[in-house]
Symmetry: C2
Amino acid sequence: MQSGGYLPTTNDVLSNVFSRAGALDDKDAAAIARLPCREILLKRENDIPSDSDYIFVLLDGWVCGYKLLSAGGRQICSIHIHGDAPHLRSLLPLDADLDYRALSDCRLGLVPAQLLRDLFHRSVMISRALLREVSISAGIAEEWVANIGRRRAIMRVAHLLCELACRLDAAHGKPQKAYIIPLTQADLADATGLSTVHVNRVLQELRGRRLVEFNGGHLSIPDWGRLVEIAGFDQKYLHLDGVRCCTL
Amino acid sequence: MQSGGYLPTTNDVLSNVFSRAGALDDKDAAAIARLPCREILLKRENDIPSDSDYIFVLLDGWVCGYKLLSAGGRQICSIHIHGDAPHLRSLLPLDADLDYRALSDCRLGLVPAQLLRDLFHRSVMISRALLREVSISAGIAEEWVANIGRRRAIMRVAHLLCELACRLDAAHGKPQKAYIIPLTQADLADATGLSTVHVNRVLQELRGRRLVEFNGGHLSIPDWGRLVEIAGFDQKYLHLDGVRCCTL
DNA sequence: CGCCTAGTTGACCAGGTTCAACAACGGTGG
DNA sequence: CCACCGTTGTTGAACCTGGTCAACTAGGCG
């Protein structure tokens, strides 16, 4: 886990997520602040127990949503950082499509699903916010389809790193000089549809071209402009409105 | 276009989509029935004009959501059939991530976006239904990520055909003997992240193994069980609850 | 008839995979 | 303190899936 001094609570994260679509009124804000939450710690590589009575939000650390294929192999379909609430989708009575796993040691907040569901039914702003979240995550998945389906290996990896850098900038509210990204090369491979060996070679190529340094979970991007260019990256799909993203 | 005698109206389609998450009360049903709608015809290969004042639903024919990449090439990220309302997501004031294009001649229903937005703000059932739709489409996009990222060419094509067959079955309310799928091999290629030449070879292989006949837009599946098996297909992610899908 | 689109085929090529071995590192237990 | 182990990253060589290019066929339609 990486965050500095201050530790956000589960209620903070929920209130932040729900107000992204527009300010909440006092009643909703109070209801969210009153939700009884519980925290748990999870070690890297552990699956998040899927308990349909609770929704988790990510307070600190990294999580991915993944699928194991019958043919063998794993595909990571989504990556989440502190402050994300990917699991909100499970408020709907749809079977879970994804399993979630900790990519780093992490801290999760658990909220009783039924209470959130009640909130969603009562408040227009909250249902709108939820819709917005799910809608954005659908857009990200579609960008991943395009990334994996139609880009070369080097572009794929560059594109993913661009996305993660932008989202970290947004989460911190300002452009970062360097990033802590606790993914292994195997994780990158499973997220980009490549083999770990090839991810390794691609990273060397990116390093050789002075575009990216990625070592031991530490990412730095000496030339953001050129990286964006070769990745074909356009951050619009992330909808990080308001937050100026990365250095231009 | 393919549907037989009866022609659903835009209001029919909306009411059907919105009641998938649970029965609508009389007030909502009436409000939907009262929405003023307009129909337009669109020729194959034409983009659907993106007018943020209107939401389109697909009354007849096929449509895809796609992206053009800066590196060149097109990726189809979603495919839609009659009765689908993919564009509902644009009720949110988020920039459109996808462009939509007719894969066949088709008939669209246009609904004033603001009226739908009002409905969404007033009705819990409708907001829930919308969330459900968007959530399912996110799940489908994630399955596509896994399909393109981690499956061989033959599995990818087989998987896509399985998905389309299931969705057509569901749209018609019962398993079909054969399917009309007006996609070219180039369309299949852009949806699966392959080249058209390779899609051609894969289709020959599938035909050679007596698993799939696909010619001139006509699909038949002599051995559904084996096709599902080699595709690694599991229809759960489509959430076509209630409709028994395809022949087992 | 000529044109355009969709499908088909062959030859060649390259991007990426696979396998295997090894290096670097940190953690753990004796 | 060191030996051992597991994990992650790195390298090389062989291989192969799938891409590219180019030519050709078959229909459909003005």
